[in-house]
Amino acid sequence: MGPQHPFTHGLWTLKVKVDGETIVDAEPIIGYLHRGFEKLCENRNFPQIIPICDRLCYVASMSWDHVYVSAVENTFGIEVPKRAEYIRVIALEVQRIASHLIWLASFMTDLGNLTAFLYAMREREMFIDLLQALCGARMTYNYPRIGGVSQDMPRNFPHQCTKTVDFFEKRLKEYEYLIEESEVFRIRTQGVGYLRASDALNLGVTGPALRGSGVPVDLRKTDPYSAYPELDFEVAVEKDCDVYARYRVRMNEMKESCNIIRQALKNIPAGPVLGKAPRHFPRGEGYARTEDPRGEAFFYIQADGTDRPYRVKIRSPIFVTVSAAPAILRGYKVADVPSIMGSLDMCLGESDR
């Protein structure tokens, strides 16, 4: 199943060795989208890297901006205003919902239900509108800045946001009716794509795939960053280890995200949104890790005293998750490939870099 296959969201190849219709072995081949991101960063100064981080993952740009910015802040010890942290959390959660929605859309298309695809895209549009109101762009946000965010939220944003979230929770119930209440969906997902918790940990799988295997690891809880320690939320964990569990994890996460957004909007303090960023960066190295919609994103920066990073290293969650694909796929049918790989939420921009 090559780069131009209808089910590959992005460019990648899955070489599948089959016996009849049963998969004997699978080998994901990535790298079609390699843009030399880490090298690209070495030729740009620190603020200029932010818009490139948007391009790491085109469905979760905000979280990649955020992980980069917080890596820089950790490296140089820059303080971020409280209000900026809250706005970042709101933006991240809105982004998480949007990303999960696009996952839902593509996943349901893989399973053959175009209706759910269009419904999910319709709702994603609302969240994209939110982000657009926040930062002026629909996909490549370039919103966080080193030491804060680029601009305060618009005056009617909290109202708009609350309205959207309330509406979305209603729609989420509709999704559950449409998708998981049908027997067809159940038999396609339950008991398929079994990933043991031990396997998942050994392979380094993170994010919803890991939580779907019953391991309650969520960096928002276990290694809190930004304004998350001050917010009250739960980590969605399912114990079934199959595709259905991963689906449930994402649905519950969307609900939790709605909660977080509401709380953050309620608790948001007044104040500035952009702290003082230094124009000159000292020598140093640092990292940040955050909970991307897809797993654990990690950004390492080594600065050598100039205005550009000396070395940048990215750990993309999908890169690791894709490597786990053969272990999950083995023994299942060819027809299970879309549902299993779809449940991993591929995003090739970040894994190929």
């Binding site: 199943m1 780069p3 131009q4 009849g20 219709e21 049963t22 049918k333």
Partner: protein, 119 residues
Amino acid sequence: MSSAAYLPVLIFAVISVLFVLVSFFVSALLRPTKREPLKETTYECGEVPIGDTRIQFHFQYYMFALIFVIADVLTVFLALWAFNFSAGFTPVNILMFVFTGLLVAVVLYALKKEEIIWI
């Protein structure tokens, strides 16, 4: 049973084959033809086709055909029975009921036993 009513079907078959050929011909008049070796490669998702296409299929598929043949022959006799159905508990009907019941039992047993080999 007279075959007179079936002859138009044959005529229609000829006409429909002609219809396909005519649409081919019209398309041949309209479409461009530029032959390129790259264009004619087998579609394998944009990759160069790999492997020597030595796919030997699993035995499972054969089972479907096998069961299908049996079931198809069954329907022939069922159809005959249905065509000349007479009401009442005639021996034919009882026989057919027994036959159907046995068949259900056999099919269910076979399906249960052969669970492993389904694709």
